[in-house]
């Protein structure tokens, strides 16, 4: 199975949200990284057929969405970012409704609903109305509905946003369980989430792919560009103004800085093994740092 994204564009007035994107995706987990406004959600909505591209095409095994019609959507599971539920439906009703939307017959719908509610640990509250659910419970219900039709393409847009660390770990494990033999595209700007489960990293900026690499080699490009050194508080503030500081750690009266930079920030600095977060900061610089002040990053 291959999902081909060919010269895909989405234009909103003069703004190009997705700009001539190309990719050939085979089964595996793809972490789609990018700052807010990079075009991740627009790209995912086009892959899901919710948004019509301005130009370009999306093909599954060589056929476009239009050619495949309902057949394409039967391969698809989508969990949009911040999507709403029907507050007056119970979790079970919501799943059965989504099963009907996905074209499952009544028997299969019931079986899959029970299986998935069990998998996402919502079986005991399956008859409770969704409006009584916490954010984490809703997210779990969200991924359960995406899995109803056992899709071969699973699109998850910021699935861990707003979850506490325990819920996020639980969620990552769920995604790993569901990901076998599928094309999973997982969009997030929480870098650590994808570093655990992604096989490939797609990095997006200004509507374009900056890079697409397997997880093992994705950081190779910044080897020798991540530095650590100790400095005092006053100088740490000065370094922060001139470099992209990944991490800042107080040790006695000193501060250990981790900086990503093409050149050594100081003669004392030593290179260290780069992480995905270093890579993210290397490419997104101030965008990423401003987001880090708003989002949970571990």
């Amino acid at each position: 199975m291959q999902l081909q994204i060919q010269d895909l564009c989405k234009q909103y007035g003069t703004k190009c949200a997705v700009n001539h994107v190309n990719a050939n995706l085979a089964p595996g987990v793809y972490g789609l990284l990018g700052a807010n406004g990079a075009g991740k959600t627009t790209l995912m909505r086009m892959i899901c057929g919710v948004l019509k591209p301005t130009s370009g095409s999306i093909r599954l095994n060589g056929k476009t969405i239009e050619e495949l019609g309902e057949q394409y959507y039967s391969h698809l599971g989508y969990m949009p970012q911040d999507f709403g539920f029907y507050p007056d439906f119970t979790a079970r009703e919501f799943m059965l409704y989504m099963a009907a939307v996905k074209g499952l017959d009544a028997k299969t719908a019931k079986e899959r609903t029970e299986q998935l509610l069990h998998m996402v640990n919502l079986q005991e509250v399956s008859n409770k109305k969704v409006k009584s659910f916490s954010g984490g419970m809703k997210q779990r219900l969200g991924i359960a509905q995406a899995e109803l039709n056992q899709p071969s393409i699973l699109i998850l847009d910021e699935p861990t946003a707003g979850l506490d660390p325990k819920e996020r770990v639980r969620f990552r494990n769920l995604i790993s369980d569901f990901a076998k033999e599928k094309i999973v595209i997982l969009s997030t700007h929480i870098v650590s989430d994808v570093s655990y489960i992604a096989d490939y990293i797609l990095m997006m900026k200004n509507g374009q792919f900056l890079l697409g690499e397997p997880m093992e080699t994705v950081t190779n490009g910044i080897k020798g560009k991540v530095w650590e050194f100790l400095t005092d508080n006053r100088e740490a503030a000065e370094y922060s103004r001139h470099f992209s500081v990944v991490n800042l750690h107080h040790e006695n009266n000193k501060v250990r800085l981790r900086i990503v930079s093409d050149t050594a920030p100081t003669a004392d600095a030593v290179t260290v093994e780069p992480s995905l977060e270093d890579l993210f900061l290397y490419h997104f610089g101030e965008d990423a740092q401003s987001e880090r002040s708003n989002d949970y990053v571990d």
Binding site: G49, E70, F83, G84, Y86, F89, Y97, V101
Partner: protein, 405 residues
Amino acid sequence: MLIKYEFLKILRKKSTIIVMVISLLLTAFLFGLPILQFQTYNQDGVIKGFDGIAYEKEQYKDLSVPITDEYVTRTIAEYQKLFENPDNVGYDGNEKFLIGDAYWDYVAPRENLLSSIASVYDAPGENSGLNKLPELDLTNGANFYQARNEKIESLLNTPSRNLSDEQKEYWSNMAGKVDTPLQYGYHEGWEVIITSFELLMFAMLAVCIVIAPVFSGEYQAGTDAVILSGKYGKTKLVTAKIISSLLFGVLAFTLHIIVAFGLPLAAFGTDGWNLPLQIAGMTIPYPYTFLQATLINLGVIYLVLIAMIGLTLLLSAKMKSPYLVLIVLVPVLFIPLFLSPNGTTGAYNLTLFLLPYRSTMPEIGKYISYQIGGIVFDVLSIRAILYAVLTAIMLPLARLGIKKH
């Protein structure tokens, strides 16, 4: 299955229950008012409410007769005879009228019938009450139906109506199909219904409010992406939403109809269902009984309702929030309420009679017709055609709207 869940989605919302309860109470109040306000009178004074209704029914027992020429002649002759006695006649400086026992024993019990008979001898646009009855020449009988036909001809030839020859012929033919002699009788419940149809606009609005979020609510809640990416999200689900909306609309509206018609019919009785419309207006051209006219106009109103559901769904598919849908819809439904016709011809009037609010009113006595080429349509037929066509246009457009969303 999808229809069931879409129907459930509509029913489960608290707002649905609230809107429906308010609307049903309002409908019950509006259609209950004629019962609460009903009053008749006799020599002892005013009789109100159910006592008044019972008294009125009793009075009509002797009046359930065929209005033959002979009956009209005899009735007018009796009236004239009473008028011959000066003791029975009062004068207010302007007109003469029967007073005392002559009034209470003869006129009061049959005042509506006498007024209906007298109206036939008035010129178009004239309303002289019973004043013409004492002067009518009965030498060759009252010639009631001849006078009625002549009045209808005069009405059709009134210059301000500006009717074409085809339209005049259409109405003459229709009026000619009215069975005579007309059967008179008690029909209060049906008259309340026939004159109150426009009050159903509130029920129509309530239905539109409830279904306004069918598509736009999905956009607003952010559930559009998840359903549109489902296998049937752009196909069967859209159909299910349209069907469930229509189903809900028709059922909810029918519930309102049951309340609206049930109250007057329960209070005033169903008597008169088989009586001709003409006893409520002698020049009405439609050859229907009260029940037939009610059902025909109700059929038209259901078509208006379905078209309004179609419009609501189209707006809902195009707009991002149910509130925006209502901002467009409410004026469409209610601005015509503030526009009055100034005649029965001309583009303004002919358009006004086709707008949703006016389309609920049967307008059975106004000879409103529309001519397309050589074909003439009465207002009820053209409304039925117009709203069926609008439905046929708007529902596919709503489908397209959601597909292109």
